[in-house]
Symmetry: C2
Subunit: 353 residues, 2 copies
């Protein structure tokens, strides 16, 4: 739908092993002081300089996590870095390195791999992380990307999922739902394109939500924002899945309940208008959709003054002593228990161990 495949010509086999790896990685340089040895040996060698080391891994499968019909390869490369950096941001760690494994079928020409690596390169530059290694393999199964991110933090900086206390305020960064409704637009246009390939996709007016879906960003700057504000979250998680299942994670691990106010949930105007167009309640999309990669965290209620006028953050509710009971208040009085959609839809969703 978006790519002209005829532009791609060079077969991977023309390069051979060493040539291909050198070609794909020659524009990458080492810039993080914690990287002693990046690409080119049996393992990356890192110097944590006295800090704790945080490691997280995510796997992306073609036609499960992305659809190449409407995902530009450069954006896919960028996104595979971002989703792992988002996990580090959720621990309040500073990212240092990324390791990428790619398995690719022989229908992929070198120029397509170049596009993926140009996105990885752009993300490394944006987030000041080093590509420190990985693995490339052939795949008769389609495209698979695994990204492993390595970050650093002082022990007392690390924020787990299990520290929320009753009465803590529940806070989110940014606004929610963009990625989910961006995906709805892309899926709709892809269906239209498949039934009539001469049709140009109608993407005007959706630029913000499309970017949220195709080129998400990790909230790695939140660590320094929290420090500047002298704010001390008691628990934190990133919004890779829907808001509901992430809050249930905080609830279960912190052994508290939560009460959320629907009207407090921050959303862009494009989310509201697109939700209306699709006949979907925008909050339903936010609770179950995912992929916004914002952070959701709890702070002691005593720190409310530090955050209440900050445009980067929104208080959407609070923790309660009613363990494992997560409630959302709609309008003035209607209270609904939240469940994590997707539990039984396991096979259509990516899940973290």
């Amino acid at each position: 739908m978006l790519d002209d495949k005829n532009l791609y010509k060079t077969s991977i086999s023309q390069y051979g092993e060493f040539g291909l790896i050198q070609h794909l990685t020659e524009s990458f340089t080492i810039s993080d002081p914690s990287t002693i040895k990046g690409i080119g040996d049996d393992a990356a060698v890192l110097d944590p300089k006295g800090k704790k080391v945080l490691v997280t891994s995510d796997i992306l499968i073609e036609n499960v996590h992305f659809n190449l019909a409407y995902t530009p390869l450069k954006h896919l490369g960028y996104k595979c870095v971002v989703i792992s950096l988002s996990d580090l941001a959720a621990m309040n760690a500073t990212p240092g390195q990324i390791i990428i494994s790619i398995a690719v079928s022989n229908r992929f020409p070198v120029e397509a791999l170049d596009e993926i690596y140009s996105g990885i390169h752009a993300a490394c530059k944006q987030y000041k992380v080093d590509l420190a290694g990985g693995d490339t393999a052939s795949s008769n199964l389609g495209l698979v990307i695994n990204s492993t991110a390595i970050g650093y933090a002082e022990e007392n900086e690390i924020i787990y999922r299990n520290g929320a206390k009753p009465n803590d305020l529940l806070v989110v960064s940014g606004d929610l739902g963009g990625a989910y409704f961006g995906l709805q637009v892309l899926e709709r246009e892809n269906v239209a394109f498949k039934s009539n390939p001469d049709l140009q996709p109608d993407l005007a007016g959706y630029s913000y939500i499309l970017e949220r879906q195709l080129k998400p960003e990790a909230r790695t700057e939140v660590k320094s924002l929290l420090k500047e504000m002298d704010l001390h979250p008691t628990s934190m998680i990133d919004l890779s899945d829907g808001l509901a299942s992430e809050i249930i994670h905080l609830s279960q691990q912190s052994k508290v309940g939560f009460s959320i106010y629907e009207e407090k949930i921050p959303m862009d105007n494009q989310v509201i208008t697109t939700a209306e167009e699709f006949g979907i309640n925008p909050v339903t999309g936010i609770l179950n959709g995912g992929e916004d990669y914002e952070l959701v965290f709890t702070i002691p209620i005593t720190e409310h003054d530090k955050i209440k006028h900050n445009p980067n953050f929104t208080v959407i509710g609070h923790a309660t002593a009613d363990k494992n009971n997560v409630l959302i208040t709609k309008g003035s009085s209607q209270v609904i228990p939240l469940t994590a959609q997707g539990w039984d839809a396991y096979l259509n969703k990516k899940k973290k161990v």
Copy 2:
């Protein structure tokens, strides 16, 4: 060929996300003192205790790296840990943690995942490493496993690929070729089974080489052996690919040549007899086959006395000043330049970035 699929009954969707993850990982405990937080948050939290941190990642794709027709799932789980620990052993690092991403199709019942995780568990126990996280996802593409291993070493313990000097001795651990010829037997029996499913596979007399293929071990004990022997390798790599391409890596990165003596290459008697049976020169299998996961390293010639009677190691040649010229001497005089098979066969082989 080896599994009775009828034994497997429970659908993954019966468990739901949290239930499945808990079920798969409940038998894993944290034992390494460097693991502060393992499974259950956005990232693993590790304490390197002043050491350098080594990280490596490998991806395994169904029908590229393994064939479920003859690979027991427990062995596959064990092997996916071993191949990454082998990369750490090749850097002379001590392994601490493993992070496993698995993507699996809905044709996989929970019992099949249990088998894979029982192999991962056995490997974690054998090598004293902690399962510290990962990702599970659905796959419409078959089974995909990515393993990331994290290890530790003092800076002066780390052995790179680039330190070999002319006249250094070239040494290998263990014996070679078992994994390659084990694979030939399994492939032959699989072809026979496919043409006549009533046929029982004839695997008697191949137990050593079958184990080398199906349940390889990582030479993580070499680090302490080297220390006991007061031996200081100048370069090291593991034999995941064939001996030829690994020695060419050492040659290119160390900017030395190598001269290898065919009759010095250590091989088990089962390798010799099986090679004869298949009409393949055993050395050809060793040079190009791979998957032995032994270590090959160089030591200063002045340290020869320390190693010459050690049954764990064999000197197979030496480094030369003739940069990038890797030669093998066959018999008394025939000298052949070595090339890395598989360069142009890229798409049929796994390659490291």
